[in-house]
Structure formats: structure tokens, C-alpha cells
Symmetry: D2
Subunit: 330 residues, 4 copies
Amino acid sequence: MLIELKPHVDRFAFIRRLERMGLQAVAQGEQRISVVRGMEEGVMPELFAALPEVESVRPLKEKFKLASIAAAKKTVIEVRGKTIGGNELFVIAGPCSIESREQMEVCAQAAQKHGAGGLRGGAFKPRTSPYEFQGMGEEGLKILKEMGEKYDLATVSEVMDASQIDLVASYVDILQVGARNMHNFTLLKELGRIKNPILLKRGFAATYQDLLLAAEYIISAGNPNVILCERGIRTFETHTRNTLDLNLVPALKELTHLPIIVDPSHGTGRRSMVLPMARAAVAAGADGIAIEMHPNPDRALTDAAQTIGFASFEKMMKEINLIHKCLSEV
Amino acid sequence: MLIELKPHVDRFAFIRRLERMGLQAVAQGEQRISVVRGMEEGVMPELFAALPEVESVRPLKEKFKLASIAAAKKTVIEVRGKTIGGNELFVIAGPCSIESREQMEVCAQAAQKHGAGGLRGGAFKPRTSPYEFQGMGEEGLKILKEMGEKYDLATVSEVMDASQIDLVASYVDILQVGARNMHNFTLLKELGRIKNPILLKRGFAATYQDLLLAAEYIISAGNPNVILCERGIRTFETHTRNTLDLNLVPALKELTHLPIIVDPSHGTGRRSMVLPMARAAVAAGADGIAIEMHPNPDRALTDAAQTIGFASFEKMMKEINLIHKCLSEV
Amino acid sequence: MLIELKPHVDRFAFIRRLERMGLQAVAQGEQRISVVRGMEEGVMPELFAALPEVESVRPLKEKFKLASIAAAKKTVIEVRGKTIGGNELFVIAGPCSIESREQMEVCAQAAQKHGAGGLRGGAFKPRTSPYEFQGMGEEGLKILKEMGEKYDLATVSEVMDASQIDLVASYVDILQVGARNMHNFTLLKELGRIKNPILLKRGFAATYQDLLLAAEYIISAGNPNVILCERGIRTFETHTRNTLDLNLVPALKELTHLPIIVDPSHGTGRRSMVLPMARAAVAAGADGIAIEMHPNPDRALTDAAQTIGFASFEKMMKEINLIHKCLSEV
Amino acid sequence: MLIELKPHVDRFAFIRRLERMGLQAVAQGEQRISVVRGMEEGVMPELFAALPEVESVRPLKEKFKLASIAAAKKTVIEVRGKTIGGNELFVIAGPCSIESREQMEVCAQAAQKHGAGGLRGGAFKPRTSPYEFQGMGEEGLKILKEMGEKYDLATVSEVMDASQIDLVASYVDILQVGARNMHNFTLLKELGRIKNPILLKRGFAATYQDLLLAAEYIISAGNPNVILCERGIRTFETHTRNTLDLNLVPALKELTHLPIIVDPSHGTGRRSMVLPMARAAVAAGADGIAIEMHPNPDRALTDAAQTIGFASFEKMMKEINLIHKCLSEV
């Protein structure tokens, strides 16, 4: 249930009244309150509509309450002066794994030069096999932070476990939840404690509703700054590593107010497909793109097959900006 | 094996020589021959390279020989003065089912007015249930032919069985093979007998290789005019009717010389998603779009939920033409 | 709608009366009639219940009417003195492709010796590539017929197109519709004209409902003798060729009265998995098993990797009969 | 690489020598060592075969080294006097969620009476929505422990995060990793620190190799007591909640020495399908079954639709024991 309050009503006092009735409610914007728990006990919305403080009452039918498009206006997140979910495209670029200071510096230069807003790099790597490179750890985060500041880029890195949140958040602007952790509910709840934006990647067999409910875990725990990310699902097709599902973009635009970013690198697993699918994502309405980029893609320690070089990155930026501009003029 | 002949060599005489050796070969262009059968018997390509008529010899590693990008230059198909697979976008629009002369006339007008090249309409409908509307049959084909001629549009309609080919081909320019028939090998072989372009829809659990091998059936039987069509696959996601797989577009551009068209109506099953996914398809590099359009979409006898009206169609044409133009200028 | 008639009412006269009202009805058993078409026009079942000839009326909610468990008692099909769908297991064994008289004779001997009821062998082969072995054709069917008669086995072979039905039916007891043709509606309807049992294989992306509606096409066209066959679906798993979906067995036992057979050869694509999955199928309640068997499995022209030899076949028969017997005693 | 040592060689001293060479090795059994890391640097197995302490050397080709069937004999795990992976079936029964002492007591009685070896019950529940019942927590674990001791049943409960391991392990015999956490690598590594058996559920889009690599995380971190559990994957089929993939059982029997348990409750999501699929799992060769059981299934707080009652449980135990016995006699 969404309660629109009359002007000048103290929404926090109103929430406390609801809590005394056994309901859990969250403030959304100046005059709006979402009741997210307790409604199943047979509470009648008509009663609330009759209260003098209340302007109007609407039902929230979806299982995801706070992530629902009914619950809020379009979420626009600001990091380092750029916006995510607003009118500009937000591009996150960088290597899969942070390997060295030199590697990150040239990536950051390229990212800045061609107009990316974010710099990515994995320090803790979730690897399917325990015998594969697991990342540089905190040392990598330090390098990422330094380059983010030097080149004025929002930094993005993955957090693999609730116990790492404070460490990663002390270095990084945007914390990424990997596809394999999208259903790690302990991690999601703990990310509700911080205020950093969360880049939440879709699990590779998660439905749209699953993804929105994962976002709901973070938001209902206190952090509304969630960015959704499509990165490919598992299907019977074996030509590509995953099947990038761009249908998610227009589908979620109807269901949620959260920004949506697309990762064509993991989504396809093939370097030659990154540019066309980045273009397609922007044409479908995505708020941004996350890609894997490396000064020497063939030598990347991880994900080499899907990593692009700087020349391709420059070309991609031109193409997607052109499409974005041309759609904004229609 | 691809054999490049020297200038002025009689390629048909050369093919007959190959046939006497137990090989099956097909002429491709002026000087090129593909040997598609018989190679498995241990024929050594070096021997052919030594012949005086032969310029060079190349292997054809893929299971699909004639559909392979190695086998030919980009296929450009001409119908009614428009090209498919060339520099222009080819848009096919029309209702799922032909319902009446009036319905087809207003569709044809809208298609022509906004720049579509093709008019579609089903006369024989493959329906999952035997109790659903099965189409108007030949009566519908007559209407389609009339409107195609009156508005100078290439007509497209489905052929469900080998026994219908001659009937459908006598009325229609482009014969469609539906997704459910992509593996109907008898039908595919028989379509090799005619010269009409074939719009071959991807089966909803067909891999890219399966689709190319289905095309190979048609081409190897004598008809090189195959247009591939992505229309969504079956995955675990239930929000959309199917999962439109745009990855196919750039993937197939690397594997085949055949034109590729995308059908966002069946691919998503949702009217509101048709436009964004049409834009995305063009941005990914598709040669055209096939959509379901109806003067009164909610009253369409079949596929109402995914059918758009004329105003949306006009908007779609503007958007995809803009994207197509802007990409051709990069 | 299911109409139960009173004793001694002439059901065919009654059906003709229904037809004059614009309804299509099918007789099922002595006193029962299914109305399968025309109900959508707002016909009220109560009116029929009030007729003097009518004992009772029940709704048929599923889209599949005649295949529905509500429509009939368990279908038991008799071929050459064996039953399918009754109390005994019905096992179909034989090579993927008929290759020679000698091959078929030893297969038939082994099948008979170890208690199989059916002998399979492909004469017309649906192959993904046009360059692969396409079968022996009519010559193969003659061999199959001879061996079926000599060893008193019900013969099973695939029909790929409506135009082949009469030819195949003139040699073979049970006509198989392959997975790739499950949605070939023209073929399905034409199979309704004959009386031979039809072994209908599940398409590799067909839902349970899709399969039952395919059966409905055959039954509503006049042939009630349909045997359903699970043979694996397409999933993301690549270790096996397909994912044999045994859940279908208990699920369909609740939805339909038709017999259900499982094919663990295609279902897994791996010889070593055929026996355990055959056992599992019988334990799940399957009415029979269809397997690929060859005197020299490694030399089979088609499907070698999933074909078992005679010793394994003997072992399988022992195991599944043991399980079948032990379950019938619970 | 697997190194078989000669008798009386000190394997731990040998492992230390390997470590000085930059290799990581793990002892397996009395005379066997697996080298799991460092081989990629070009180490030549022949050199090791020449050492005086070494009997023989074998390659370990799979990415999963310690979980590989080449690495060890069949793993048999003992808990409370019962074995998992040996000659007896190990059945785990109990409610999805622990709800009360009374509920757990009647479940434990029924489990013991009909021959189950394990008692399950969730105390920390991973729920897709944050607004659903999240479990009784530690209070539930106390009840579970009490009932396990009173009725001599091995207790099984889920651990959702690395931070919960010590708490859960202090009450519970077997710690379960849920399907949604199969790729939570931090959790997997930390489970390597303890000695309790781990019931590792397959992620719903995890391949067989993914599952074995998840097991490898636990084993390589020090805990060899891993039990694999199939619980259904996501496919296009919507009739069942998941698609129970019994092919996993024979497939993994060829790839790993670890015990395999099947969960037909989550695998199908339908009460009526639990018994047939439990029978099928045992017929396919599973080492055990895990099912959801409740004194009043319709009133279960979670997973009611797939939970069976005591009478069905008794029937299931009879049926699967009969099949297990009959197969052991073949």
C-alpha cells in the first residue's frame, strides 16, 4: 500500500503510528509512505484513506514493493558529478581484474578521454574453480581508488561477502554484487546498511521478478541506491558464453524506477559482439553500459575472450552516444 | 571445399567432371564452385589445386557449406524493386492473420505510407491447438496478392507443408517457414525447387548452427534466396512470451552471408516492447524488421497481445530509420 | 464439455443433432460424447443437462479435450497381441537407421529373445544437416516389415511428411512422429486419417501442454491411438546431448489417459546412461521404453554414441522388468 | 596430477617438498597425493615419475581435481552410525521450516519409524522476497538438535552465510548449502574449515561441472565430506516449479566419487510427483533422497505445495527400499 500524505504532515510521526499498528512502512520522497509488511493480516486500505492526514491510498500489487514503478519516480543516482538513470548515458569501463597500477592507469586515461563515467576493476574475483586467479585483494582496491580520484571516475568493484562490505566501501564508490551472489540474501541485507550505490547483476537463471526482489532486499534494508544490471542468462545456445537478454530493458522500464545498465561483455563472452550489443542495449533504452576493457585484451588474466581494446572502446563510445542522442531527439 | 576457377573456365563442365568423381558441387557466382558432398571419402584438396583450371582451393570447415560466410559474398535479395540484405532496411508489416479485404487494405496503406517494403498476413495458421482459428486459406492469399500489387509491396505468407508450396507461391512473393516448421526437412527440401525468397524463422529451441543447417537444406536443393529470421527462443523467463535473442544478429553476421531479419512481435509477445526491441535489432545490425500490425490491435483474431497499431508503427519506422541512418554515417 | 448419455440412446444421432446446432462432437466409448468445438460461442451446459437423453454433463477445462484424463479411461493400445498402456511394459528396440537385412535380423532376434514387443528402425531420417545419411527409404521399410513378421514384433518407423503416410503405413505397425515434427500440424492432422498407433515424440522445447495439444490434433482428426514419448529437452546443460525430463511421466499421468513411453537413448545421448535412465523411467511409471540398439554400436551409421549393444540390452530388460514387477506388488 | 607413493614414504614430508617447488598438494588416502595448483607453470609429470619415492603418476584432466573420480575411491560418509554413499539408502526427511517443538517431534518420530537416517528443518530460510517468513533462527536449531539426539537421527540444516557456520555447526550434524548459495565462494571456502558433512545443493542453472567445482572449493579448503544434491533446474517448462534432472545421477557417478542425493520436493514443486520421482532417483542410482514432510502439509508455513504427509512418507520408504533392494540383487 502506498500512502500519499497531505502537505505539512510529519511523515516520520505517521510512520511511527503505523508501526504501533504492527505495520512496517518506509518513507519515499516528501509526502509518500510505502507500507511493506503487515498488510497480509487483512488491513483495509479504505480505513487509511479516511484519516485526516492522508491524501490518497493506492495498492502495491507486486511482490516487490519499493522497487516497483508505482512506488517512486525514476531513481537518479549521482556519483562524482555524473548521474545514473537520468538523461545521460553512464558507461563503466575497465578490466575484469585489477592486475597492476600501470594497467589501471592506462584504462582510467582511456575511460576518461572517451567519456566514461565509471572505472571498474575486480579485486576479489568469484571464480568457478578454486584454482583460478582470485584477484589482488585490498592492494587492488587501493590502486582503483587512486585512479578514480586522479581521473575523476566513479569506481566500481565487486563485494563477494557481507564481511567485505566495509573494506570495499572504504575504497570504492559503487559496490557490485556479482551474478553468482544475486541470491546471497545475507549480503543483500547488509548492503542495505551503507549508502553507496549498488550495481546488482542479474543471476544467470534469475527471472525479472527475482532480480527486483533481490533489489527489494537492499532497499528495504535501507539503501535505495540500486542499479540493475543485465549480464546474460543461461540458455541452450552454446555459440555465446551467455545469452544477453535485452528484453529485460523495456520490460523493467515498465516495472521499476531503478536505473538499468547492460553488460555486453559477460552477456556474450565474445569480443566481436560487444559493440553491436552495446548499441542495441542503448537503443532498447538502457541507462548505461558496463564493459571489460584492457590495454592488451589478449593478455588479460581473466575474461580475455570478451575484453575489448582501447580503439574498440573509442568506437563504441561514438556509436552509443550517437544512438542515445538520436533517440533523445525523436 | 571451395574451388576458385581461373577466368574463362566453363564452370558447369567442371561441375560435371566433379560429379563423375562422385562429388556433388554447386556453382556460386561466376568462377566459384562449392563441393558439398563426397569430401568425407578422403578426397585430398591438394589434388584439385594442381588442376590447370583451378586458381585456388579453400576448405569449408563449417557443417553448413553454402550458407557459410566463406562461401559467398553478402546475399542481397531483390523483390519488387526493394533489396533485402543490402544497404536499406527492409520492413515487413501486417496482421498475424488475414481477416478481411478491408483489414488488409488499411494495413497495406499504412505499410506503404510509412516506408515498409513488405506486407505480411497469414492465410494458413499453425496453431498449437486444433480448436483455434486456422486461417482463411486461399481466399486470404488472393486478398494479399491484390493488396501487394495495388500498393507495390512484397507479400509474405506462411507455407505449412510441402503440398502447399505451389499454391502459396502462385500468390505470394516471399514464402515464410514458421518456427515450428524449421526442422521440417521435407518442406525445406521442396522449397529448394522454387525461386521465391524464403523467410526462414528460427525454431524456438534451435541453435544458430541448426538455423544455418536448415537454410543449407533449402540452398543445397537449389534456392539460394534465404532470409533468416530471429523470433525469440524458449527460456525460463515467463514475463515475455519468448526471449528475443538479438545476439543472433552479430553472431550470424560473422558466420553467414544471408540477410537477417528480426521479429520483435513474436520475440517478446508484448505490444509495449515491440518498439524498443525493433530499435535494438536495427542497432545490432539487423537487415530488417518483421512486425504484426492491425488497424485495431485489440480485436486481432490472433496474437492481439503483441500486435501494434498504425500510430505505433509510424513511430517505429521513424525511430529505426533514424538509428539506421546514424549508424551508416559512423 | 463431456456429455454422458442415458443407456440405449443413439449417440451418433445425438451427435448429428449437436452438429446442426453448430457444435462439433466426438463419440468416446458407448455412452459418452465430447463437444470439442463451438462451446466458445456461449453455449450453456445447463441446457444440455436438461435434455431427456442426457444423464450428466461435465466441463472440459483443459485446452486439450480428447487427450484430457477427464475425457476417457486409460487408453490401452493393442499391437500384435501386446498391449501398450496396460499392465505390461512395452519395449521398442532397434537401430537408429536400418542399414541392412543382416543388421535388422540380429536386432529382431535380440529384441524377441529378451522380451521386447516392438522393433524400431529408421528408413527416412530427419537429419540436421542435408549432407548426412538420409536413410534407406522404402527398401528399409520392406526389411523392417519382414523382420517384424518373422519375429512377431510390432514395427515402428518414422514418417517425416504427410505425403509419406500411406507408404509408411503400408509397411509399418506404429508410425513415429519425430521431435522435430511435433509441431508439423499438417502431418498431425493427416495422421488422424489412419488407424495405426502413432508414437508422438515430444519436441525438444515443447511444454507438456504443447505435447498434449499435438496429440489432440491427431485424435480430433480421427485417430485415438496416440502414444506419447519423452526424449529429452534442450537446457543449458551440455554434458548430455539432451536433458531427459522424467518429470513428464508422473505429470502426464495426472493429465492424460494416453500411454507414455520414454526414450533414454536420445534423452541422454550417452550409452553409459541409457540403463540407469531406463530403470528410472520405469520406476517413475512409464508404460514402456524405446531404445537404440545395434549389433555393433560403435559402427552404427547414426547415433552411435547413444546406441547400446545386445549384452547391455539384455541387462536392461532384466533390470526394468524387475522394477516393474516389484512396483506392481507394492 | 595424482602421485601414487611407494609404501612407507612419508607423504606429508613429500608434500612439503612439493610446496617448496611452488606446487600445492593434498594428501588423499595413505599413499596418494593430488597436486592441485602450480601445474599450469609447465611442470613435467615425467620428472616426478622418476623420483625414488614415487610409484606412479597420473594426470588429472578435469578442472575439478579432488572431486574427480580419478582422485579417490567412493566417498562413504558416516553420521550417527549410518552411512551416506555406501550400500544403504540415506533418507533425509522433515519440514521445510522448523515451526515448533511439537511439529519437529512428530516429524522425527515418523522419520525414525520408517527408516530415515536424517532429520531436516530450516532455521534460517533464504526467501526470494524479503517480506516472507525468514525462519526461527537459533531457537529452531535447538529444537532440531534435541530431536536429532532423542530419535538418533542425523540433523540437517541450511547455513546461509560464512558468519553463521560456527553457530549452525554447534547444533547440526550436516550443514546444507542452498541452491542459491552454490556459487557463494566465500561460504564454500569457510566450510572447508570444519569437518561436518556438507549437503551441497545444485544451483538452478549450474552445470554438472559447476557443481563439482563448487564441491572442489570445499574439499580443497580442507573438508572432504561433501554430499551432492540435485534439486531441479530452471527450464522453459512451467507445469513443475523446477525440472528435476535425474540425468545428473548416472552422469556424476562417472565423474566423481562423492555421494549423490536427490530432492524430489524442490525438484518438482508438486506433492503428487514426489513419490514417483523419488522411486526414479533410486532406480537411477542415487545414494539417497531428501524430502519435505510435515504433519499437516497444507498448513506448512513454507513450500506447502510440495510437502508430503506421513502416510505418503511411509509409502515412499517402502517403494524406494524395494527398488534399492531389487537393484542390489541384479
